[in-house]
Symmetry: C2
Subunit: 479 residues, 2 copies
């Protein structure tokens, strides 16, 4: 999961406004009239889906996800492994007797980490567990060896003179506040520091918890600023260097990174359609992204999201349930380097964007489902809130409001399409995010079952009810 | 912390009985008479110690621990770093105007990990994050490449034929129950597997939680059994191989370890005495071990234990508090390879063992103190329980009973000396234990203050009260 890296402003003088999540509190003003009763009548089909997933389908989502991530491991943008894993998903879906599958080509970045070595040389020699950030340049083969200054914030850095930065490695040690806030250090530190003559940056991993685990992720260079190597270090090593720095000890670090940005490659978005019975042109989209970082297995980010979205057409097909509108399951490619697949899809399908009734993505974990994170008009939220009441038996009825519901689909939601991310019990999400610890051990079979069932049933109901999910402009027209 | 590795039986057919901890429930039968009142009268001095540590001494224990572990990092048995760190502790104590310090030489093992590389070759190539176990032999330079079998338990292994083990690498994947139970796989797996012709063992790290973090620790070879290389792998990789194995996939792993066991080195136990005013021959001992594993900083295991024990004479000296009995602070050496320092101390001081009134060690974390883990007669426990009442204001009054209160001192407690470990809020202790994550980030300044204050005040009261802590034989004599 990458949170809108590319809307992050590149000048630190600008204020980065964080899309805040808030619980939806104005439901009492909802007045859906007979629609409420209509939605409530889906209770039987929702229960049949829940029963199926907890019965004959039990453990299937976990088992298929495990087979997939165990077989391919990490699936970084530009890699052959990513393409092979997409082929596998297409075949796995075909094997379910679902034939309406297309892949759409997308040009994607091909950054390769190569060998990396980070070493504390002074005040004592110690290996530093680091991970270069996506799109970082490498170092010369002999590495970069330089004195370190440790800085807590961009504010603090703005008060340090160029003289004190020039030729140095800047360690940014911002305390974790929340991902969307603290993440700006990962995404922009290199250019911020390079403007004052720094030779490299090391950034405290963006996480509230660590067992000496570095967290990678995408960064981006500002135009017309010298590019310098940039990498994550662990919370522990950042804090170690902070303490040494505060004691007035001279710190020296050597960084060796052989990262390269190669020519773009062709990858693919995967679209699986379960054609609607009455209004097939109208789409309810469920989705996740197939690519991952080049560490761990990408089980959580975002294998889980892909597999509960894969489960939607599979379960409906097996249950012979066909809603009025088409359900499209999309596996985005190249989310991690900057929502590349989703951006390409939006551009390619812009002229039929009015046909997207509702778009969903799971990219913040597939822990126990709690509800949906929704973007849309008051009317749209009222309808979704009513749909969520169908999930009271599994405690997944909470509607959270956000103008940034989930990474990839933000690209489409930003054009006015209503949508939702999976709201789930993901308190520990950032403990594993973009680390070697993103493996099947984070996933739980029963939680995946609940997620798949809820994802399937919610998509079905939204795709089958008598009304479209209203959009801002619809509302404007009516009022 | 190493839990009695060397009392673990080497034949799996024998039952390994785990020393169970239980809450002390028969306090109501305590009848201390006037002693209860006497102990209660220490309330003022206990409060003055607490006030001092939370006032002028605030943050000192954390700051000194941080300076120490940041300066030296890991301090494995046999290393020059360990000896330098002992010199530093002696000087740090001298600087507090404490002169009664001796070091006693001990021959200690000198195992050196060297370079290690673990690689999954089939069904796909993947780096495995592993850590050889202390005392393991290395592999030939070209490594060992072999097919893998995955086994959950020694029970399961006993049912597998030699034919199916011979020439293979055995992955033991026991689910974590509790450290003292599951740890037997780390300590004995190599010889168990070698008896059936295995060429190496990889053992699931002994931990309830992981971010792909391998946990090292000591192992021991059974006599007259072929020695094979043995290492920890992460929970994640063990589970990955289990899943692959259960799918019937052929697994092949390459292990390269250049571990060597060198000649023993001379290290030292450090003894700091605050001489008693009335009965200086009688000892109340507080302790921790200076050595650590060769990963992380050894901040938790066992820098924290050393520094709250260092704080005891320092705080009493600063407050000009001298109890009737001598308080001895001991920094054990070479605990990790098998309680080497403590065993040497016990042998050297056996003839004066009757003078040990009470012995304490902190080696299971210095999180928020909760009380003491006590070994001793009913009478002894009644007295300690009364002392613990003095710590109700900091919620550290719990007495837990155990016949194995803390690693090193078990050697002495086993001879009939009453003793205690620090009972503390260490729920996450094994998350970091013997990993790169054992750093200052696990420690908290306020919790260390509380631990140091409680450790100091408890030792003071026990060393000053009018009665000795009774022993089993005393009781036997009397009854």
């Amino acid at each position: 999961m990458l949170l809108k890296v590319f809307v992050i402003v590149l000048s630190i003088s600008q204020v980065y406004s964080v899309p805040k999540r808030k619980s939806y509190s104005d439901l009492k003003s909802c007045n859906l009239g007979p629609l409420a009763k209509e939605i409530a009548s889906y209770d039987t089909v929702v229960r049949s889906i829940l029963d199926y997933v907890r019965g004959p389908f039990k453990g299937k989502t976990y088992a298929e996800l495990a087979k997939f991530v165990d077989k391919f491991g990490a699936r970084p943008s530009g890699s052959d492994t990513l393409e092979q894993s997409i082929d596998y998903l297409v075949q796995l879906t075909r094997d379910e007797n679902i034939k309406d599958i297309v892949t759409e080509e997308v040009k994607v970045p091909h950054w390769v980490r190569g060998k990396e070595q980070f070493t504390l040389l002074k005040p004592r020699v110690k290996n530093i567990n680091g991970l270069g950030f996506g799109s970082s340049i490498g170092t010369p083969p002999e590495g970069i060896t330089a004195e370190v200054i440790v800085v807590s914030s961009f504010d603090e850095f703005s008060n340090i003179s160029e003289h004190d930065v020039k030729g140095k490695i800047v360690v940014f040690d911002p305390k974790f506040v929340e991902y969307s806030v603290t993440n700006i250090y990962r995404t922009t530190a290199a250019s911020v520091a390079a403007k004052k003559g720094a030779v490299a940056t090391l950034v405290r991993s963006i996480t509230p918890f660590s067992i000496n685990s570095p967290h990678t992720g995408q960064q981006s260079y500002e135009e017309n600023v010298v590019k310098i190597p940039t990498a994550a270090i662990t919370v522990e090593d950042a804090d170690l260097m902070r303490r040494m720095f505060e004691r007035g000890e001279k710190i020296e670090v050597q960084i060796q990174m052989s990262a390269t940005t190669n020519d773009d490659k062709i990858s693919r978005n995967t679209l699986i359609d379960l054609k609607g019975t009455e209004r097939p042109e109208k789409l309810v989209i469920v989705s996740g992204h197939v690519d991952s970082w080049d560490v761990g297995q990408g089980a959580m980010d975002n294998g889980g999201g892909v597999f509960i979205s894969w489960a939607v057409p599979v379960i409906l097909q097996r249950l012979n349930l066909r809603p009025k509108r088409t359900i499209r399951s999309i596996f985005w490619t190249a989310e991690e380097p900057g929502l590349i697949g989703a951006t390409a899809y939006e551009a390619k399908h812009r002229n039929e964007s009015h046909n997207i009734d509702f778009i969903m993505e799971s990219d913040e974990g597939t822990f126990a489902p709690l509800g949906l994170v929704v973007t849309g008009t008051q009317e749209a939220r009222c309808i979704i809130a009513e749909v969520l009441k169908l999930f009271e038996s599994i405690n997944a009825s909470t509607l959270v409001e956000s103008d940034s519901p989930s990474s990839d689909i933000n690209v489409i939601v930003d054009t006015g399409v209503p949508g939702a991310g999976l709201y789930n019990a993901n308190d520990r999400y950032y403990w594993f995010h973009h680390t070697e610890g993103d493996t099947m051990n984070v996933e739980d079979p029963d939680e995946l079952d609940l997620g798949a069932a809820m994802w399937t049933a919610a998509a079905y109901v939204i795709a089958d009810i008598s009304v479209d999910i209203p959009r801002a402009q619809d509302k404007a027209k009516r009022s």
